[in-house]
């Protein structure tokens, strides 16, 4: 019967549904985009720069220099040790601070020696090339497009890199083989060369880090735990997860969810009040009718519950419709991404990647459900109570 009641005044009902719908949609989208942005930033770092996790020597985190790198024996041991893991790729890197000199300027860079073949299975670096081509031989170097512009360097030209290493310094010429797009903001000041060249320069034969990429969908948390287990026998070796590699990220991510709560509450209350308002009127309107029902023996509680049910039904429909729309949008954005080129400069300043993918998680429905819950609660508060308190005789007379 509650259902029939609703459709007696279709416009009103639709409005109520819309209210709840909009509320649910907004909550879903808020969460989806907010998580999406964080996820995109995280993904940018993982997919293009750092890999899912890294293995480094113990003192490296405090003093990231070549001296605190892994010796070549250690490197071999680590790679052997991790052989049992299911990974998408493993690669060695040797990174050191160096000066990059062009005819028009000099700048400090992070010189990253990579294994050109293995690297692509971990960070897909070859897909970021925007000019020239990927590394395919010794003596070549890749620069970010930002750095190349700053130092006025073109593909094919020669640059000189001065690096300091365990054995002293070396200045060495590299030919710029290609330029890459710095998909993560850290990559802007990174110059990439074959690891053997960097080893020759620094006189260090090992690696400063071993980067590992996990297959799609694998749990990073579990993988890190497994890696730690596998490498437990090796001393002086540390597994660094995303938060170890990005210390500020932990703080930023922690703040995000908390900030959402007031919004969710406010939206829920708004929607709740909207629905309850209307429900209240409907009770007032139907005073006479309800009074009759009561006189006919319908208990107060039942009456109140009927009103409550109406409100809840409305909320439920709104929730499904609005939430569905919102979720659909998120699913689309999660697959196709949202190109943020129109705020390119601002985005870069804040650290946003160029394209963000929304996050579409089931949990968001739970958050949006709070709209329904609060609506129900608010509705229970005054409309249902009012219905409850109706005295049959007065009701019939009043109406």
């Amino acid at each position: 019967m509650a259902w029939r009641n609703l459709w007696r005044h279709p416009q009103r009902t639709i409005l109520m549904i819309a209210t709840v719908g909009v509320g649910s949609l907004v909550i879903l989208v808020l969460f989806g985009l907010s998580d999406g942005i964080i996820g995109s930033m995280t993904a940018a770092q993982i997919d293009w720069n750092q890999g899912s996790f890294q293995v480094r020597a113990e003192g490296y985190a405090d003093d990231p220099t070549v001296e605190n790198g892994l010796s070549s024996e250690r490197v071999a041991s680590v790679i052997d040790g991790l052989a049992g893991m299911r990974t998408a790729g493993i690669t060695r890197r040797l990174e050191t601070i160096a000066m990059l000199r062009s005819a028009y300027g000099t700048d400090g860079v992070s010189l990253r020696g990579i294994d050109p073949v293995a690297e692509t299975s971990v960070t897909h670096l070859d897909e970021l090339i925007v000019d020239g081509q990927y590394l395919d031989g010794a003596g070549q170097i890749l620069l970010s497009s930002v750095l190349a512009e700053e130092l006025d360097v073109r593909v094919g030209e020669r640059v000189v890199v001065l690096g300091a290493g365990a054995d002293g310094t070396d200045s060495r010429a590299f030919r710029v083989a290609g330029l890459f797009r710095p998909a993560s903001i850290d990559l802007e000041q990174v110059a990439i060369a074959p690891i053997d060249d960097v080893r020759a320069m620094t006189g260090f034969a090992g690696a400063t880090s071993i980067a590992v990429a996990l297959p799609h969908g694998a749990s990073a948390h579990r993988a890190v735990a497994e890696a730690e287990r596998l490498l437990a026998g090796l001393s002086g070796v540390v597994v660094a997860d995303y938060f170890d590699l990005n210390p500020l990220a932990r703080l930023m991510i922690a703040g995000a969810t908390l900030k959402m709560i007031p919004f969710v509450l406010m939206i829920s209350l708004m929607a709740g009040f909207g629905v309850a308002n209307t429900a209240f009127y409907s009770v007032l309107e139907r005073t006479r009718e309800l009074g009759v029902m009561k006189a006919l023996g319908l208990s107060r509680k039942l009456l109140a519950r009927m009103v409550l049910l109406e409100s809840t039904l409305v909320a439920a429909i709104g929730f499904v419709v609005g939430g569905g729309l919102g979720y659909g949008g998120l699913l689309y954005l999660s697959r196709h991404g949202w190109d943020l080129s129109f705020i390119a400069d601002i985005g870069r300043a804040v650290g946003l990647p160029r394209v963000i993918y929304a996050s579409a998680s089931g949990w968001y429905w739970v958050a949006a459900l709070s709209v329904v819950v609060i609506t129900a609660l608010v509705a229970a508060w005054y409309p249902a109570r009012r219905a409850n308190r109706l005295e049959p005789v007065t009701a019939i007379r009043e109406g």
Partner: protein, 411 residues
């Protein structure tokens, strides 16, 4: 008009609820503004207090200097120009340069920041970050280093380090400097590289009596991140007064992160406002519609008696208008009231991870609120406008009623 009021009074409860529908979005929005304003204000304060100021005067970069800022050989002419420009609350000269810090045969590349200690002390939070020893004093030839650097060079307060200035445009200056304090850095890189010295010491490292890299200014009347008009005004005056070879940068140029945040926040806020207003409007339409329905017979009667449709619309709109105005007024009142109350209690203290993050980036972990009159007016006005727009639909429907049918209307 009188009829409208009468009708309203008869259905006091419903009128009040409609009023609430207008009131609540307004007060919510004001509260939101309150939090966001305060947060942005904090970020702005924290960034501009020490690091950037509101404006900076720097030398124009004519040749690549790497990580060092172009050197101003003698800022006297710039300082003279300053005197002629109005609105500058405070200014100080700074010299930042790359240098080598060495203990025994351990040398590290560092970044020396030469400041005038007593000038920045009242406004900077650097002094608060000192965990061991003390901050600089005017005569100090000592340095304050980060915890990480102290650990790497195995230094304690009282030890000495050798500093060699390495600015590409300056001569080499070397000196021995005692560590007078150790500070806690928000980020490890800062703790490893920043060395705070007095301006005099930095100048010795650059082997110049007068060199500087920037003049940091605070402008009168610029209190928050939205005071750009005043900022631009003074910046323009400065540019006109300064001799060639200098450029003026504002804090937005110098900390693109905060600028970017602001730029993103404004549209976000607008979207949130739109959502709230939309919801409120929906509710207004809802309840007003009910009100119209209730008076269907009455309206039918009025129309039959010869009233114009416009008059009917006017009736509904008047009712809506009164409620809207009241809602706007009380909404603003409640909103501002909440802000004032929260502030009277000193703000809402935060806890846990969020609090840690805020402390790290220099914001105190207490949630304050502050709101500006323009924002209050805007919120109230916008919602009132939206509500009136929303009221149009039921009013129009009311005017379209057929008198005969309406009079016979039974609920």
């Amino acid at each position: 008009m009188k009829a409208a009021i009468r009708h309203m009074m008869r259905n006091r409860r419903r009128s009040i609820l409609t009023l609430l529908a207008v009131l609540i979005p307004i007060y919510f929005l004001i509260v939101m503004f309150g939090f966001i304003n305060s947060m942005m204000q904090d970020m702005f304060d924290s960034a501009t207090r020490f690091d950037t100021g509101h404006l900076q005067i720097r030398a124009v970069e004519t040749r690549a200097t790497g990580s060092a800022m172009p050197l101003i050989r003698d800022p006297a002419d710039a300082l003279a120009a300053l005197a002629s420009v109005e609105g500058i609350e405070w200014s100080t000269v700074r010299l930042d340069l790359p240098a080598m810090a060495s203990v025994g045969d351990r040398t590290r590349t560092v970044f020396v920041r030469g400041v005038v200690p007593e000038a920045i002390d009242p406004i900077s939070n650097m002094a608060e970050r000192v965990v061991d020893g003390e901050f600089l004093t005017r005569e100090s030839t000592g340095v304050v280093v980060g915890e990480e650097l102290a650990a790497l060079l195995e230094l304690e307060v009282g030890d000495e380090m050798v500093l060699l200035g390495a600015h590409p445009e300056a001569s080499l200056g070397a000196m021995r400097a005692p560590i007078v304090g150790v500070f806690e850095a928000p980020e490890a890189t800062i703790g490893r590289t920043v060395v705070m010295t007095s301006l005099g010491t930095a100048r010795r490292l650059a082997r110049s009596d007068a060199a500087a890299t920037s003049i940091v200014l605070r402008i009168d009347g610029v209190t928050g991140p939205w005071d750009t008009a005043r900022l631009d005004q003074v910046a323009a005056a400065l540019r006109a007064a300064l001799p060639p070879g200098y450029e003026v940068k504002d804090w937005l140029d110098l900390i693109p992160f905060v600028a970017g945040y602001l730029n993103i926040l404004t549209p976000l806020l607008l979207i949130m406002a739109a959502v709230f207003f939309g919801l409120g409007a929906l509710v207004v339409v809802n309840t007003l519609y009910l009100s119209v329905m209730e008076r269907t017979r009455e309206i039918g009667l009025i129309l039959a008696l010869g009233s114009s449709r416009a008059r009917v619309m006017g009736m509904v709109l008047t009712e809506a208008g009164i409620i809207t105005l009241a809602g706007a007024f009380y909404g603003a009142l409640v909103g501002v009231g909440i802000v004032l109350i929260v502030e009277a209690f000193g703000g809402i203290p935060l806890w846990g991870q969020a609090a840690e993050w805020m402390k790290e980036i220099g914001i105190s972990p207490v949630l304050h609120m502050s709101v500006r009159w323009t924002q209050v007016a805007l919120s109230a006005g916008a919602m009132a406008g939206v509500a009136m727009l929303a009221a149009w639909l039921p009013a129009w429907r009311a005017s379209k009623l057929e008198p005969m049918e309406a009079m016979r209307y039974v609920e």
